[in-house]
Structure formats: structure tokens, C-alpha cells
């Protein structure tokens, strides 16, 4: 399970970084979103991976999973959700004002990576 998690986080981060470095707003937003997915999974894994363990104290439990990363992930998800909404609105505004979806406002196709 650890290897699977690591691979997923790694792949998501790689795609995220690649898309963020593209010079158009849509891939940029997608890239930022994928990176925030990667970091959410990463935060989740910082409490160590375990299956079927309770997060709260009960008399019958044989072990516990750390509840704090779950709270952190929840906060991070809410914040990244708001940020994604904001950056989409900003991209639309940029498209309206600059007349192009290139992040520097270049209209020349040759300058676009």
C-alpha cells in the first residue's frame, strides 16, 4: 500500500508540475489542482497508513489511526477548493481583459510554449 501511495503521489505531482509550467491558463489551473490532490494524499499519509483502525478512543479498539492529518487534509481541501474557484475566475477575467489565454498575454502563437 505504501508503494502504491508513493507512486500515486509522485505521478500526480509530476503531471501537476508539468501542466503548471505550460504557458496557458487552463493547463495551469489543472496543474495546480493536481498538485493540491497530491499534497492532500501526502498529508493523509503523514499519519501513517493503516486500514480499518478507529480515529477515536474506544475500549475495544486494537489500535488507532492518527486523526490529526485527517483534520489537516479537510482544511487543505477546503482552502484549495476556494483557491481553485478563485483562480478559474481570474483566468476567465484574464482571458476577457487580455484577449488570450496565454499567461503573459502574448497573442503571438510562436511565443507560446
Amino acid at each position: 500500500m505504501e508503494i502504491l501511495m508513493s507512486v500515486i503521489i509522485g505521478v500526480l505531482t509530476t503531471i501537476g508540475v508539468y501542466l503548471t509550467l505550460r504557458a496557458r491558463t487552463f493547463p495551469l489551473v489543472m496543474g495546480l489542482t493536481l498538485m493540491s490532490y497530491a499534497v492532500n494524499l501526502f498529508l493523509f499519509a503523514t499519519g501513517r497508513l493503516s486500514i480499518g483502525q478507529p480515529a477515536i478512543i474506544t475500549d475495544t479498539a486494537s489500535g488507532y489511526t492518527d486523526p490529526l492529518p485527517q483534520a489537516l487534509v479537510l482544511t487543505a481541501i477546503v482552502i484549495s477548493f476556494a483557491m481553485t474557484a478563485f483562480v478559474i475566475m481570474l483566468s476567465l477575467k484574464a482571458h476577457a481583459e487580455l484577449g488570450t489565454d496565454q499567461v503573459d498575454g502574448h497573442r503571438d502563437e510562436e511565443n507560446v510554449a
Binding site: 495551469l28 498538485m35 490529526l68 489537516l72 476556494a82 483557491m83 478563485f86 477575467k93
Partner: protein, 508 residues
């Protein structure tokens, strides 16, 4: 437990919410008065906190009365109080300028202004790493709104870059916080400082990675080279009072570098002690050099001031990187001075651009500015302040930094870089001044809107007055910042105040 420490957070949050709810049915004048009252009240609160902590006491406020390290704590020490005071004083004058007309066009300016202060105050007061992340997001989200206030193509383009960079920065912050939590098992800064010293050898690499990731995030906020490229364009594109308020934004990064660098990776951190100090000095000097070249190359006044902000960041971090009490104290004194001076410069640049018609702030010979004598005089004083020439606070700050470098063996190199950068800064400012004022030709604009009004000059004078106050009362202020530096460099007091609040008050 005194509730004083939570007030700098509750007040702007409530004021911001109230301004948001009433934005449609209260007149602009009433909302301006509300915002100004809330901002001035924060100055009073900052002074109250400062008086409380001046004795050396570290105030700790456990949110929800959950004891540290399980709950989130707010910690008020001398550094936090100093930052609160600088922020609130700066924001008062930025707001005074903004209500001269910048706040028209969007009803959200006033709520965002208070939420920006909420985020800033929170970042300075919190004693928890994840909470610091949350306050970073609050202040960033508010700053995105303020930056884009009134729109325009140039502003939107700069805003898009600023937002994208900071979102990547936030992701890195979360990776760093996750790594540190995964290895240290805590997010409370004081508890982290204890745990980090006991890190088993196999986890040392991970702690270093987490710490340096955090360093990268703070360096991005502080605009340290090579992560500084966003700053001049962003600050040049936004409206003047927002640029003035943003003078504190780079200082948030500097504050975090100082706080984490002295507390978590400070002298008591065992194997990872001085993790930040090794990186800070070369990067600070690189910032200083690149930013100085930028001031010479800039073709617009506001962009030039953006580079001057970077110069100040470089000098500030050079002082803090030296790590001695004297150097840290010099840095803290210079921090307040440079925040006020660059903010005044941004406001003044707006007046100059306003009087030059289509030439705006471009550094080309343009028409004579209305009331050129007064504006030119102000430009001269602000340039003295920013360049660090006698007799004002810039000189005191720079002299203190230079004196502090004498303690290190590499002082000739440091002094050479700082002094040459100062000289080049003076040349750049002299060139701008002569282009804007002495080589002006043609008819002075007769439009009434181009004339600087007294109410726009007053906030600039106010910020200069703060610099003057820093000069006149340099002695008590220096005593305070020296004590602040000593408190910072002995993280034991902070740790004891947070983790063992009943074990007796630490002397200072």
C-alpha cells in the same frame, strides 16, 4: 488567562465581516469611517500588547483553552508585538490614502482590507505551523483581491502570475508541514523545537528536507533571489495604497524565516541547528546585488521602488543571517524603517504619476508636475530615507547593520557589497529625481485632478513622520529591539512559556 492576545484577530475579522455584510446599504463614508476606526483600534491594541510584553513576559493564549501542544496557541512575544505595531501603523496610513478615491469601484475593498490585516496579525501571533499556513492563505486570498482591485489588463496579468506562484508556494508549504509532522509528530512550534533536537539519526534527512522546503516557501514570500522575479511587476501594477500595504507582505516572509530559523532550527536544535543560517547569507547577498542592478535598469518609477523593496529585503536578511544579537536588533530596526519608507515612496510615486499625465511613472523627461516644489521636496526626503543617507532613520538602520557585520571574519566583503549597493542605489535615485523634476519640460497640466491634494500628501507625511520618530527615539527603540533579539536567540523562554506555562515566568 488574559484575552488581550486574541483581540488583534477578532477585531479585524469582525470588522471585515461587518463591512462585507453592510457593503450594499451603508454609504461609502460610513464604511470608510468604520474601516478607519477598526484599523486605528488595532494600533491601540498593538501598543497594549507591546506594553505587556516589554517586561520580557511571553503571552500565551490557548484557543478553546486546549493546552499546548494539543491545541493551537497564540504567542505574543516582543517580536510579534513589534510586527503587529509596524503592520497597524503602516495600514492606517495606507488606508488614509486609499479613502481619497482608490476605494471606489468595488465595494469589496474595505472588507478585504480588514481581512488582509486579519491574516497578517494571525501570521505574526500564531504558535502553530499549520495555523500559520491557514493565516498565510487568509492574507494571500485578501491580497489577491486587493491586488486586482479596479482591474485593468496590466494588473490582471501581474495578478495571475502572483496567484499562480503563491498557489504553488502553498502546496510546497503543505508538503513541508506534512513532512515535519510525519517525522516530528507535532505542529506546535515550541514543541517542534523540543522534538527537533531529539530527532533520531535516520529521520534527520527528512527533517532537513521539511525545514528547507519551508525555507523555500518563506523565501518566495520574502522575495529572496532567485524567487524575487514576481515582486517588481506585481508592485508596479497594483494601486498605490495596496502597494504601500504590501510593503509589509515581504516582511511576513522575513518574519517567518526569523521565527522558524531561531526557534525550530535555532542554537538548541542539536543536529539541525543553523539549518537556515547557512543558506540565508549567500541568498541575501545575491538578492542585494540583483536588486541593486534592477534599480539601475528600471524604466518606471514604481518598478524601481519594487526593486528598492528587494534591496531592503536583501539588506534585512543579511543582518538577520549574521545571527548575533546586535545584527538581529539592527535588522529589526531596519525592518520598521524600510516598511514605512518604501510605503511612503509608493504613495508619492502615485502622486507623481498622477501629475505627469500620459507619461505616468515612466522615467522619461515629461511635463512639469503641478506643485513640483513640494512633491520634489518630498521625493528628496523619501530618497534620503530609502538610500540610507544621514540624518534620517535609513542611515541609522544601515549604520547599525554595518556595525554588526564587523563581528564576522568576512566583514570586508559584506561591507563592500552593502556600500557599493548603497552607492548604486543613490545613483539610481538621483537619476530618477533629475529625470522627473529637473529635466521636466513643457506646460504644467492645469487640470484640477492632476494637482496633489493636501489629504493625499498627509499620509505620505505621516509615514515620513514615523521614520522621523524612529530617528528621534532611536535610543528607546534600539533598547527594545536589542531585547527582542536577545529573547529570540534564547528560544528556551518561548518554549517554556508555551509548554510549561505554570512553571514560573522566565526572567529576561
Amino acid at each position: 488567562m488574559s484575552h488581550l492576545l486574541i483581540l488583534p484577530l477578532v477585531l479585524p475579522l469582525l470588522a471585515g465581516t461587518l463591512l462585507l455584510l453592510t457593503r450594499r446599504w451603508l454609504s461609502l463614508d460610513v464604511r470608510r469611517a468604520m474601516n478607519l476606526t477598526a484599523t486605528l483600534a488595532q494600533v491601540a491594541l498593538a501598543i497594549l500588547v507591546l506594553i505587556q510584553v516589554d517586561s520580557g513576559e511571553i503571552l500565551v493564549y490557548a484557543l478553546g483553552n486546549w493546552p499546548a501542544p494539543y491545541g493551537i496557541v497564540l504567542v505574543g512575544d516582543r517580536l510579534a508585538a513589534w510586527m503587529l505595531l509596524v503592520t497597524s501603523a503602516l495600514s492606517s496610513f495606507a488606508l488614509l490614502y486609499a479613502i481619497q478615491g482608490t476605494d471606489r469601484g468595488s465595494r469589496h475593498f474595505h472588507p478585504l482590507f480588514q481581512l488582509q490585516l486579519f491574516g497578517l496579525n494571525g501570521a505574526f501571533l500564531t504558535g502553530d505551523l499549520f495555523n500559520l499556513f491557514v493565516f498565510f492563505e487568509v492574507l494571500l486570498l485578501a491580497s489577491y483581491g486587493l491586488l486586482l482591485h479596479r482591474g485593468g489588463a496590466e494588473r490582471t496579468r501581474a495578478g495571475l502570475h502572483f496567484v499562480a506562484l503563491n498557489l504553488v508556494g502553498s502546496t510546497l508549504f503543505l508538503f513541508a508541514a506534512g513532512t515535519l509532522y510525519g517525522t516530528l509528530g507535532t505542529l506546535n512550534l515550541a514543541d517542534m523545537a523540543v522534538k527537533v533536537a531529539e530527532t533520531p539519526t535516520e529521520n534527520l534527512g527528512l527533517v532537513r528536507v521539511g525545514g528547507l522546503l519551508l525555507f523555500g516557501v518563506f523565501a518566495l514570500k520574502a522575495a529572496v533571489a532567485p524567487l524575487h522575479l514576481w515582486l517588481p511587476a506585481t508592485y508596479a501594477a497594483t494601486s498605490a495604497p495596496v502597494a504601500a500595504l504590501f510593503a509589509i507582505m515581504t516582511k511576513v516572509g522575513v518574519y517567518c524565516l526569523l521565527r522558524i530559523g531561531t526557534l525550530v532550527f535555532g542554537t538548541d536544535a542539536g543536529p539541525v541547528a543553523g539549518l537556515y543560517a547557512d543558506w540565508l547569507l549567500p541568498l541575501a547577498l545575491a538578492t542585494l546585488i540583483l536588486a541593486t542592478l534592477g534599480t539601475l535598469a528600471a524604466t518606471g518609477l514604481r518598478r524601481q521602488i519594487g526593486y528598492l523593496v528587494l534591496v531592503s529585503v536583501g539588506l534585512l536578511l543579511t543582518a538577520l543571517a549574521l545571527g548575533s544579537p546586535d545584527a538581529t536588533a539592527a535588522g529589526l530596526y531596519y525592518l520598521a524603517h524600510t516598511t514605512f519608507a518604501t510605503a511612503a515612496f509608493f504613495l508619492l510615486a502615485d502622486l507623481i504619476a498622477n501629475g505627469r499625465g500620459s507619461h505616468a511613472d515612466r522615467l522619461t523627461p515629461g511635463p512639469v508636475i503641478p506643485a513640483a516644489g513640494l512633491i520634489g521636496g518630498l521625493f528628496f526626503v523619501v530618497a534620503l530615507l530609502v538610500a540610507g543617507l544621514p540624518p534620517l532613520s535609513g542611515f541609522v538602520g544601515k549604520l547599525l547593520v554595518l556595525r554588526a557585520t564587523l563581528e564576522t571574519p568576512i566583514w570586508p566583503g559584506l561591507m563592500a557589497i552593502i556600500l557599493i549597493s548603497s552607492l548604486l542605489g543613490i545613483i539610481a535615485l538621483a537619476r530618477s529625481g533629475s529625470l522627473l523634476f529637473l529635466r521636466a519640460e513643457g506646460e504644467c497640466s492645469t487640470e484640477p485632478s492632476a494637482r496633489p491634494s493636501a489629504s493625499r500628501i498627509a499620509p505620505i507625511m505621516g509615514l515620513m513622520g514615523l521614520c522621523l520618530a524612529l530617528t528621534i527615539w532611536a535610543d528607546p527603540i534600539l533598547r527594545f529591539v536589542t531585547e527582542t533579539a536577545e529573547q529570540l536567540l534564547r528560544p528556551g523562554y518561548y518554549i517554556q512559556a508555551v509548554l510549561a506555562p505554570d512553571a514560573g515566568r522566565a526572567p529576561s
